[in-house]
Assembly symmetry: C2
Homo-oligomer: 366 residues x 2
């Protein structure tokens, strides 16, 4: 797909992007020097067997957020000797993020919303440790504090940025996304995505239902309570960051998790209060087991959407080809930062090639 | 005092510095681009009434480390509307640090060794919350983990630095310094400095004695145990940073607290393993109520010392003149980073003037 658009008198080719809901108009705001913000969080929800593919083993899952941050910031893994890959060597989408960062002039900021393990990367800290298993119904009791802390950080980052691209790395984050959407009364049981080709929807839904029951939610609750009971720390941090960055365009870089954040935000502000768009990968946009657009439509929010039509179909590595078979799909803000880089003139193919190079270096492959 | 030295064929004036124990030779290594590292920590020892002047009130004392970091990094205070000053408007030495940072090309890194409150500044996190009151004898049970985490961070920082200047901001840190020195069997009761002109030596010594008793230490213990029982998280982090930065010259920027770290380190390594110096302010070096050199001599360590002969005697502000009367004296790496800036060609008077300007802006004074 290819779209052309005239900005400031110059014809710019947006090869590799698709736009929905006014995404093209929003894209016109992406100029100057923007900042990539990676929000890290862990939730004990990730301990539910079979719920996430993040991390080579359950013991390593809490390392996924810090390792993603290290990879994006340095191109290396520091905290562990192992690498941030799923068990069959399918790499984290962080390789795409790292590629986009290397190919453009983004500033980078890292935010610990609730890590179990701190990354060896300078970061802001807005939370106080991991979220609890959502089945408890007490997932993030301190969500309000996280929002408030993140607001200050968002203001600080926005003061030195022409726009923000906010991505996240949160194992089991699609389950908590389902959680808050259901807590707010949305019928979205089949709408959230997964890092696995066989989306464990019934497993996720039963975890959410247990959490809602234990939280005493059986109708519709407000967004803050939804996060506190069945959400994750990333959501609270991202909401605070957006609030603090008011006045500056913000791209929520992600799939169903960021769609859930957009829905939460839409219920906490007046229409048009924030200048927001959602940007993700083709792998999420085309996900047959979920529906990004279904979530947005279900919540009646009309947020601009930009899709980066990345492809690893021509890759020589099986680990990257797996993306074409429904593995991983999105995360670490990959789709959104790739879209922003493309809007700044970076070729989509260059991002794919650079990601492949980063992957081969990580694997020690030629 | 004025010292001249020939480096690389050029005569460089070190106006404003004094050298001891081979400090001049060490100074020759300070060239290229160095990094300033600020280690932040809090300890509940600061809650002992009368023990520290850091913070405008006991409730605000835990804010001192994050506010110092914010001031050095941005020139502003973010977390509180109040400012990081002692109760009678005597400013934090962070204004000197900020001045030196502004006037040279140092990279800056911030390390949370054990904060109660996170700064709105990107930082590494190597600890897990504040240290306990040393009277418990269980001040920093996780000191070993902090050292290990800090080692990774030190390695990371050193990989992009030609030298390191490590400063600290730790309320009640002179008391914990006394603690570890006494725990290691040194007779240094009257040797540690204070941020107050009337050094509460007996109060400090009685807190240490209570801690030693509760820890069951009544002879001489090893350095790690000393920190675990009656130290603070800053010490563990600084030791780890130095170990990780092995091979790169490191200035420990501080007075009696950094002298205590030097003593701890000397008992954990072989002679010459690290390329270390100590640098501080004239206010500490001339402190009649304490003896930096007494501590070093007592521990039989022959570390190079550099003193920045800063003076606020000519300042128009009473808050700065107070430094000449024995208030504050040192902290936030002020003496060491000022010395490094002077070694890089910045005039001492320029640092003093810039610090005064920062102070007047903070106070909203003309």
């Amino acid at each position: 797909m290819s779209v052309y658009r005239r900005i400031g008198g110059n014809l710019i080719a947006y090869d590799g992007l698709s736009f929905y809901n006014g995404g093209e108009e929003f894209a016109g705001k992406i100029k100057g020097r923007g900042s990539f913000v990676l929000v890290m969080a862990y939730t004990d929800t990730a301990l539910i067997p079979g719920i996430t593919a993040a991390g080579a083993s359950p013991e390593l899952t809490p390392y996924t957020p810090p390792l993603d941050a290290e990879l994006v910031h340095t191109g290396r893994i520091i905290t562990l000797d192992n690498i941030a890959m799923t068990s069959d060597a399918i790499p984290t989408p962080g390789i795409i993020t790292r590629a986009a960062i290397m190919l453009s002039d983004f500033r980078e900021f890292y935010v610990d919303a609730g890590n179990r393990i701190a990354p060896v990367v300078p970061h802001f800290r807005v939370g106080n440790g991991p979220g609890a298993d959502i089945r408890t119904g007490k997932a993030v009791p301190c969500a309000k504090d996280i929002i408030e802390n993140a607001r200050k950080v968002g203001r600080e980052i926005a003061s030195q940025s022409e726009y923000l691209v906010i991505g996240e790395t949160t194992p089991a984050g699609t389950t908590t996304a389902l959680g808050v959407l259901m807590a707010m009364g949305m019928d979205v049981n089949n709408y959230t995505s997964s890092s696995m080709p066989d989306n464990p929807l019934s497993l996720k839904a039963s975890a959410v239902k247990e959490g809602l029951k234990n939280a005493g939610i059986n109708g519709t609750c407000d967004p803050l309570k939804a996060i506190e009971c069945v959400g994750d720390p990333m959501m609270a941090a991202t909401i605070g960051l957006v609030q603090g960055a008011k006045g500056v365009p913000v791209i929520l870089a992600g799939g169903t998790q960021m769609a859930a954040v957009a829905v939460l935000l839409s219920k906490m502000c007046y229409p048009g209060e924030y200048d927001l768009a959602l940007a993700t990968t083709r792998w999420v946009a085309e996900d047959g087991s979920a529906s990004l657009f279904g979530i947005l439509k279900g919540a009646s929010i009309n947020i601009p959407v930009i899709v980066a039509n990345l492809s690893f179909a021509r890759s020589k590595y099986k680990g990257l080809q797996a993306y074409e078979k429904g593995y991983v799909k999105e995360g670490v803000g990959a789709g959104g930062i790739a879209a922003a880089a493309i809007l700044k003139g970076v070729k989509k193919e260059k991002i794919e090639e650079t990601a492949e190079l980063i992957y081969s270096k990580l694997m020690g492959q030629p």
